[in-house]
Amino acid sequence: MQFKRAHITNFKLLENVEVDFSVDRARPLTVIRAENGSGKTSLLTALQWGLYGEKALEDHTVPLSASHWPAGTPCEISVELAFNHTAYVVVAGQEHVRTREYRLKRTVTEVVEGGKPRRSSEQISLLELTDRGAEVIRAPRQLLEQILSADLRYVFFTNGDAAMNFISPQLTRSDKRSQVRDAIKALLEIGVIEDAINHVRRVQASKRKETGSVGGDVARLASQVEELTTRLEELESKKKEITDALADLTTRHETADRALQEALQRGNQEELAKRLANVKQRLAGAQKMLAELSHEHQALLNSEALSWSLMDVRLRAGANVLRGMHDAGIIPKTAVPVLRDRLALERCICGASLAHGTPARQAVEEEIDRQRASDAFQQRLTRLYHQAEADVADRDVGQFSWDSRLEAVLINRTEWEKVLQEARAEEESVRKQIEAIDRVDIDEKRRNRMSIGSALSQKREQLQQVELDVAMVGQSLAQVREQYDEVRKRHNKLRRVNAQLTAAQDVLSVLDGVMDELQGAYLERVSGRMDELFRQMIAADTDLPEQMRVITGASITPEFDIVVHAGNRTLNPDHELNGASQRALTFAFIWALTEVSDTVAPRVIDTPLGMMSGYVKRGVLDLISSPPTLSEPDRQVALFLTRSEIAQVEDLLDQRAGVVFTLTNTAAGDLTCRHESDHPRIVRCECNHRQYCHVCSRLDDATYGLISREEKPCQ
């Protein structure tokens, strides 16, 4: 998973904040500069809430809306996330990589009364953006769980202080052990079972609450169904309007594009226009070919070849039985004509008389009757025998070799995927070259195309928005209808739920045993990787006390204690490491967890470099922000940093950060410029880690050597 951007509305002080993330492989770091009280923790929570909803919240009794929001007034809170997910699937020893684009929206309405929040049920809508348009994902929660398990959120979304819980001297040894054990347990992804049990418990609890108010419930639910149906109709109508407008704009865009290309062809840019037309043709060709290959791949899963490959021995056994019958002369039946001839001759092959009235003649006549009765069956057997013989012969000459066909399809798919990627890259490159042409006649046409393109993008955005709303309202409608059905089926369902609960508990007890075994294996892997990373991070720490410069590594004991080794001694990191090295050790542990999890997801860390300085700070940042090597998948790291954390590592951020911006609380006491706002809120400006402007300027700008982005910041 890679975040592209997030839009947060009314989540704490994040009233209307757009956050974008670096997707540049060479600069995988996103830096969000924010001082204390400037929305870092809220943003960290909002991102998790967007993905996982209520279960991402530490304390459910704390409101999500801002404290200035009027009591008793509904507040609609939403988080929209644009992200992609790359799946790496190994088939027949070959790795197949496929990236899909998604857009997620989660909303909830909250009313706060007496300081206590009351929230509606969350609405979630997930779209996949494909070449064919936006497709609604029918089971969004399941897909999100596949992409980034909720169990792993503590590993991928952390803050510097909470991370210290793994080795903090403020906690008891048993607390620390359980933190480490739980983190490793999370890698085992047992959340599905825990969720199942929680789900059953929730259902059970809700069923108990239901009393005799069936009639009232039915009326209420019927009214809700009506309201939602009307809303859905309105949205569908709006969707149609936008779709029509989109079709019109698409035509205009194509016309403008053609006009631009013609203009280019007239001038000395003819070559570029030709290349663009050519690359578009290649793109279309590759897309078509990939679609065909996808269908061919599907046909392979439904093929006779697969049946043969999986059941070869059994099918041959059947053919052998028939062959045996054939060899024994049981099929095909040829005895009836012979017996008839013998009756006509009134003499058996053995020489006995078959004259009328003899017992032998009667026996032969009975045999003929019996064989005639079984003729139909014999014919079927004979036909099956011949079919089997032909199929086995084909199989023997390799006609039904499924795995070689699969391999051929996979190789083709990989090659065409490559063609597609190359064509896309070339298209982008040619477009950039065309955009760079600075000629008046072309400029006008280019502006026209861009203007229509921009309108087109906006319309597409609107369409996605409406599609999200349609999906959301559709889901609400389905939920309400389901509730309506559930009310009626209450008694029967309760019995079934109890049975499910018992079953889930049984399964969990079995899994506990298995999990202990697995934990040991994972512990070893995490421990080994943590050791390597920790040694890298502290390699140049000259601030360490003399005795600590001989650190030979770190490990996790079977009892889940994190310890540091110095020669023959085992050190307790709580008391025998300085603060910076403690943080480095914690990050080494967390980083090892993310790597061992085999999950590719954004690593979002709030205040990671607090309490660090010097070489350790640089060592930690260097390691966590380094771009992936050629063989590694994309990675993404988002750091929420204060100015003091940024100090002394600005040059490293220059190299590694693909996106940098600043968040500011308009009510912060040390701002230099006054913000016109009747309530505190978090605002974004484009200042990077070396800049300030009228939005983010603070009294200590000079201390950190920041430079102004504007001539006169405060006016």
Partner: protein
């Protein structure tokens, strides 16, 4: 003999799968979602997925019996006529497993046997597909691994 001449003796038999697997069978077949991307919906008809489950069950060598109310009947044997090779395979399989051609006289018993093999293999395949965003790739590797083992072990 051309397979087009194959007579379908299973027309009146009931093709069944475990009822609990039905939602995922719908998810991974295009019957109810004609425009679906084959990469995400790797099987065309219910009978295709049923057949894949049967093949895996036979490969595992295990039948799963279920009480009558835990089966879901999704069709009679008509869809088998569209792929006559399946009719031949079903019959050969039945003869191979019982080592007696008399079983061919009881199409209902053959299909019930197939249903029970399917009840073993189908949940395994569905679970694998349901854990990934790329079901066709996962299904391919799942089936390929079993084909490889079948070749090595000479089992089936």
């Amino acid at each position: 003999m051309p397979v087009n001449d194959v007579v379908n003796p299973f027309l009146n038999a009931s093709l069944r799968i475990p009822a609990r697997d039905w939602p995922l069978v719908e998810k991974f077949t295009t019957t109810q979602q004609a425009q679906a991307d084959p990469d995400k919906v790797p099987f065309r008809r219910y009978v295709d997925l049923w057949w894949a489950g049967l093949c895996i069950g036979v490969r595992e060598g295990r039948r799963t019996e279920l009480p009558p109310n835990e089966w879901h009947r999704f069709n009679d044997g008509t869809p088998l006529s569209a792929d006559p090779w399946r009719i031949i395979h079903l019959q050969l399989l039945a003869v191979g497993l019982t080592e007696d051609a008399k079983i061919l006289d009881d199409p209902g018993a053959i299909v019930q046997m197939a249903n029970e093999y399917c009840a073993t293999g189908l949940p395994m395949l569905l679970e694998a597909m349901n854990q990934s965003t790329e079901p066709i790739m996962v299904a391919s590797e799942f089936l390929r691994e079993r084909c490889v083992v079948a070749v090595i072990a000479g089992a089936g």
